[in-house]
């Protein structure tokens, strides 16, 4: 609509200008009689100014709404896909799609689409004005115009493919350079860093030659476009000129058409300038659509939920089977008990199924066979949120949220007082290092815990678990990344936490096992052995073997 209005104003303006010049130059009218017509142009200019504001606004608002809705959809879809799916993806990349990927789509809606519409509407409007005035010029415009999109498509198709290959090559070249920067220390240690400079030079040189080969072809499209629009303006001018000489048309329509001819090609040409917005958007859209098309995990039909018991919780795994993908089972009929009020340790090599047990207990995945029972009630019958209120969890790689240290601990219980937060931090052995931070509990923490060591992050996560005060505590390698002194302190803290609670902890190392009453040894998704720690040591089977290795490498069981 606004584009149409603008088109009509363009025509009106051209006509007025042609009229003024015609009057002054050919009819030799006096300056005074021409001036009023000239003044008439000014309000037109003003209206066109406001039209420009309005059309930008309209294009923006439409795209902004799309951006808002699509971002919400994408984020929600990612969330619905769940923690396990997210863990399998690079989260930095996903976050980029939510933030900048959607923004690239904005450019498509706010610039490419309106301009594409304009590139059809404006020339059509101009044709409507040109034909009645001078059909010969109109014919020239009509005949050349279709060539433009046709050539654009013909050359554009091939060029787009080449373009995408170039993009990939550019990405490879950039990747190689990035790699050299990141691995600079290693390159130096091997005395290979000087040589790498030559590699960087060679690769960019290759890129230049191959890209130029592509561009020589790709720029042909702009050559054709430029050629058609320029030559047809020239043809229109020459044709009009000769017919003027022969007296076949009047000056006013002739000049009017000459003024409109560049306007006719302008939107088609500026479309090319917005082409990169389209390319960018297509790349981004692929990333977004790929996620939105990932099917959500099946929702179990909602059964009647039962309330989670408010007592000590005992956990039973009964022939639980689970595979992350078909053919690669992670648990194959695991059966064991974690008794209420006890500390149960899961041991086994990586890949034995320890983390899967945690994921199932947290509801991130559901058993495909068998069941998990909590105090003899099927876990599947609890409302998920209600169940998780009864669980505290310290993952192997805890996430630190943007915000202060206090916010990070208090997320476990937003209504907790400062005293309670501090008590939890003390219990987790985090209080001392927090006091050493510049603003203590109010110290802001960078993205993904920048500024905290692995051990500090782990103690922060432990503090969360303390603060939450839940009856079931899941610890996934809670003492990994800690040096000797800290490790001892944290183990004491866990012993404190275990009092009056049920604790299930996964252990790669055996050093944390001193706390465990019971040990469950997992091997390839099955329970190889389970029982009291001392009894298992004495039996000389799986656990004793693992413990020997552990001993030899620096830990005591």
């Amino acid at each position: 609509m606004l584009g149409m209005a603008n088109g009509i104003l363009v025509i009106l303006q051209a006509w007025l200008l042609a009229f003024v010049i015609n009057a002054a130059v050919l009819r030799h009218e006096s300056e005074a009689s021409v001036l009023p017509w000239l003044w008439l142009l000014l309000p037109l200019f003003i209206i066109r100014f406001f039209l420009a504001l309005a059309s930008e606004r309209a294009a923006f608002e439409g795209a902004a709404e799309m951006q808002k809705v699509l971002r919400e959809q994408l984020y929600n879809h990612c969330q619905a896909l769940g923690p396990l799916w997210l863990a399998s993806r690079a989260s930095g990349d996903l976050a980029n799609r939510v933030a900048t990927g959607i923004e690239a789509l904005h450019g498509y809606y706010a610039r490419w689409l309106p301009n594409r519409a304009l590139s059809v509407l404006l020339p059509l409007t101009i044709l409507v004005a040109v034909f009645p005035t001078d059909w010969v010029s109109g014919l020239v415009l009509v005949l050349t115009a279709p060539f433009i999109p046709v050539f654009m498509i013909l050359i554009g198709k091939g060029a787009e493919e080449l373009n995408q290959r170039q993009w990939r090559q550019l990405a490879r070249m950039s990747g190689r350079f990035l790699d050299a920067l990141q691995g600079l220390t290693t390159l130096k240690l091997f005395n290979a860093s000087r040589h790498e400079a030559q590699v960087v030079a060679d690769i960019s040189e290759d890129y230049r030659t191959s890209t130029m080969k592509v561009l020589r072809v790709a720029f042909l499209s702009s050559l054709v476009l430029e050629f058609l629009s320029t030559v047809s303006i020239a043809v229109v001018a020459v044709l009009i000129g000769f017919r003027l000489l022969w007296g076949e048309i009047a000056f006013l329509p002739g000049f009017f058409v000459l003024l409109l001819a560049p306007e006719y090609y302008l939107p088609l040409r500026s479309l090319g300038a917005h082409y990169h917005a389209r390319m960018e958007a297509i790349g981004a859209a692929e990333g977004v659509v790929e996620i939105l098309q990932t099917p959500l995990p099946d929702r179990m039909p909602r059964q009647e939920t039962v309330p989670v018991p408010d007592t000590l919780l005992g956990v039973q795994f009964q022939s639980v089977e689970f595979a992350y993908e078909p053919g690669r089972p992670a648990l194959r009929g695991a059966t064991f008990n974690a008794e209420a009020g006890c500390v149960t340790a899961l041991v086994g090599t990586s890949g034995a199924g320890k983390s899967t047990v945690m994921n199932l207990l947290l509801g991130f995945a559901k058993p495909q066979h068998g069941s998990i029972r909590i105090n003899n009630l099927d876990l599947a019958r609890f409302d998920e949120a209600a169940w998780l209120e009864h669980v505290a969890w310290v993952p192997q790689h805890p996430h630190v949220f943007a915000g202060t240290l206090r916010d990070n601990i208090r997320m476990a219980r937003p209504e907790a007082t400062d005293e309670e937060v501090e008590a939890a931090a003390r219990a987790a052995g985090a209080h001392d290092f927090i006091l050493a931070m510049p603003q203590r509990y109010h110290t802001p923490i960078g993205e993904r815990g920048a500024g905290l060591s692995g051990g500090e992050v782990q103690r922060l996560a432990l503090a969360r678990a303390f603060l939450k005060n839940a009856p079931l505590v899941l610890l996934d390698e809670a003492t990994a990344h800690l040096d000797g002194h800290t490790q001892a302190a944290v183990i004491d803290a866990i012993a404190e936490l275990a009092r009056g609670r049920t604790v299930i902890m996964a252990a790669h190392r055996l050093s944390t096992l001193a706390l465990a009453h019971h040990v469950v040894v997992l091997e390839e998704g099955r329970v190889a052995e389970a029982g009291e720690r001392a009894a298992l040591m004495a039996s000389g089977r799986s656990f004793a073997r693992l413990a020997r290795i552990g001993n030899a490498t620096g830990a005591t069981a």
């Binding site: 142009l41 504001l53 930008e56 923004e103 990994a480």
Partner: protein
């Protein structure tokens, strides 16, 4: 040009000229690109102006029934059309050629200056995305020629030529055109940029806040579910998304204003040209056909200023990027190379006396008079809590950092007498953060010795117990490892690093926490591989794991707060009730 910079302080002026200097090697290409671009611009102006003159003359001649020479203007029109078309094509080729040459040059230039600084001088930038930032900054600099130099040079020369040409016909029209061109090409972009400063900053901030909130919501989803707050975080993401869109809205309004104003200025220039030229017709200063000619001339001349707003923006971005890059490479290398050639070491023994070291003058001392001796072929373990100075010692031994006092002798000569490259030839390091490149397994291995034969590579991998695994990969030794060795587990990556050290075959071996972060079984396998690597070499093993030592080393030195506090065999140290025993008991809890 410098007056057009966002903040023309002396430092940013210096940065600007330094940046321009970087472009100089390609001045031939660049000048050619600018010339072609200028020709294209002027051809269009010429085409429009001659067309206007031509049809008016023809109309007048037609009315008067006179004849006229129409060959010259018609030929001119054809000439301009061809120059315009061909010029645009050549201009694009030449400017892109120049850009790609520059791109290659910039990368090599920067890399060559960064190389001597790593890793010591890059420590303070230590953030996971330093490399990403450098990459983005260099990408920004790639744009300088195409999107800043060409438009500015062409606009400046083009305006000068066009205004001069106009002045031949009418001084008044020339001045009016000049004023409007300046308004549209300089005034409007600067105004828009000033007004856009704040929303622009907001936009960048909200984008990074949005990203960070999304990372928290997605990467932290597991914790959010367990600890509550999924909804809260989703709300946060949407709130920030709203702020982000609001910032975009301000910029979009500004953009609309700028577009509209540009159109207005073009139209006003045209209008003024006609208004000023009209009285000249009557007085005979101007001939009739020259009025439409001037009108169309002025209209077409604005093509020169269209890319200037973008040029100003590119300049701002490029200056900021250049400033960051200059700041990085302007550091002095941490270690100076000796003037003469390296001495020939007698063996690969190490003697360290009274070594003192700190990272900078404000930092606390890390090593405070360290004494250590590693005889030729000996195996020494250096143990201590994290932060005791163990890893700093490694940094000194490979000459990544300079020590302030004391002496290190390798093979009987002062470490400072060796050229760094010769020194690193003699030392192999296996550390917990060995970097694997996004290349094939083979390329990663050959890094250590590019001349190694296939047999040698396979032998090294067999010794490192990684050969069998490599053979299970889809393309064996030619399998791409992915970003930072993504295809390998921690233990496998470490064993590739061991194989690399084997290939390097250096007489002095430094193992810096080689099993850190591995589980017990994997650690056991790696140690077996390490044992083979250690044979026949002088070895310095750095660790805070104690019980694995007895089989691996002859002697242990305990480091505490930058000094050696105890030294001897494992058995002896266990027997005495000293620091080693205490450390051992603490870890074994």
């Amino acid at each position: 040009m410098s007056s057009r910079m966002p903040s023309p302080g002396t430092s940013s002026r210096a940065d600007f000229w330094r940046l321009i200097k970087l472009l100089l090697p390609y001045k031939g290409w660049m000048a050619a690109g600018c010339a072609l671009s200028l020709a294209t611009l002027l051809a269009n102006v010429g085409l429009m102006a001659v067309s206007g003159w031509f049809i008016t003359s023809m109309a007048l001649a037609g009315l008067a029934g006179a004849t006229m020479n129409y060959f010259t203007p018609a030929a001119l029109i054809r000439f301009f059309a061809i120059v315009r078309t061909g010029g645009r094509y050549l201009e694009r080729l030449v400017t892109h050629e120049a850009t790609f040459r520059l791109l290659s040059e910039l990368r090599v230039w920067f890399y060559a200056r960064l190389e001597p600084l790593a890793p010591a001088r890059l420590m303070k930038y230590r953030s996971p995305d330093l490399a990403n930032r450098i990459q983005a900054d260099i990408d920004t600099l790639d744009q300088v020629y195409l999107n800043f130099v060409v438009p500015v040079v062409v606009a400046a020369l083009g305006i000068a030529i066009m205004v001069t040409a106009l002045a031949f016909f009418s001084g008044r029209v020339a001045i009016a055109a000049f004023v409007f061109l300046l308004l549209a090409g300089v005034g409007l972009p600067i105004y828009t940029r000033k007004r856009g400063d704040k929303p622009g900053t907001l936009l960048v901030e909200s984008r990074s806040a949005l990203r960070s909130a999304a990372v928290d919501g997605l990467q932290g989803l597991a914790e959010l579910r367990v600890y509550g707050g999924v909804e809260r975080q989703a709300q946060r993401v949407m709130d920030i998304s709203g702020q982000h869109i609001q910032a975009q809205r301000s910029l979009s309004r500004l953009n609309g204003f700028s577009q509209g104003s540009l159109g207005l200025l073009v139209n006003l220039a045209l209008w003024c040209a006609v208004l000023l030229a009209l009285p000249l017709l009557g007085s005979g200063v101007l001939q009739s056909p020259e009025l439409p000619m001037l009108a169309l001339f002025v209209l077409a001349s604005f093509e020169a200023v269209l890319p200037l707003p973008r040029a100003l923006q590119v300049l701002g971005e490029a200056l900021a990027a250049a400033r960051r890059l200059f700041e990085i490479i302007d550091a002095e290398p941490a270690v100076k190379s000796p003037a003469g050639p390296s001495p020939v070491p007698e063996d690969s023994s190490l003697q360290i006396r009274g070594l003192e070291f700190r990272y900078d003058e404000a930092a606390p001392w890390v090593l405070k008079g360290l004494d250590l001796e590693l005889p030729e072929g000996g195996r020494l373990a250096l143990v201590g809590a994290s932060g005791a100075g163990k890893s700093s010692l490694v940094q000194l031994l490979v000459r990544f950092w300079e020590y302030q006092a004391g002496e290190i002798r390798l093979g009987g000569h002062d470490l400072r007498e060796y050229q760094a490259a010769d020194l690193r030839e003699r030392i192999a390091v296996v550390s917990q953060d060995a970097y694997l490149f996004n290349a094939t397994v083979l390329e990663n291995l050959l890094l250590a010795r590019p001349s190694a034969t296939e047999g040698e590579v396979v032998e090294a991998c067999q010794t490192a117990r990684i050969h069998d695994f490599i053979m299970t990969l889809p393309e064996g030794y030619h399998t791409e490892l992915g970003e930072a060795g993504a295809r390998l587990s921690g233990g496998q990556a470490r064993r590739v690093a061991v194989a690399r050290a084997l290939l390097k075959n250096a007489p002095l071996l430094i193992l810096d926490e080689p099993t850190e972060g591995l589980d017990a079984v994997t650690e056991q396998e790696l140690l077996a591989a390490l044992d083979l690597l250690m044979q026949g070499r002088s070895v310095l093993l750095i660790t805070h794991r104690l019980t694995m030592l007895a089989h691996l080393v002859d002697n242990v030195a305990v480091i505490e707060e930058g000094r050696i506090v105890e030294q001897g065999t494992v058995v002896k140290l266990m027997a005495s009730d000293g620091p080693f025993r205490r450390l051992h008991d603490a870890l074994g809890a």
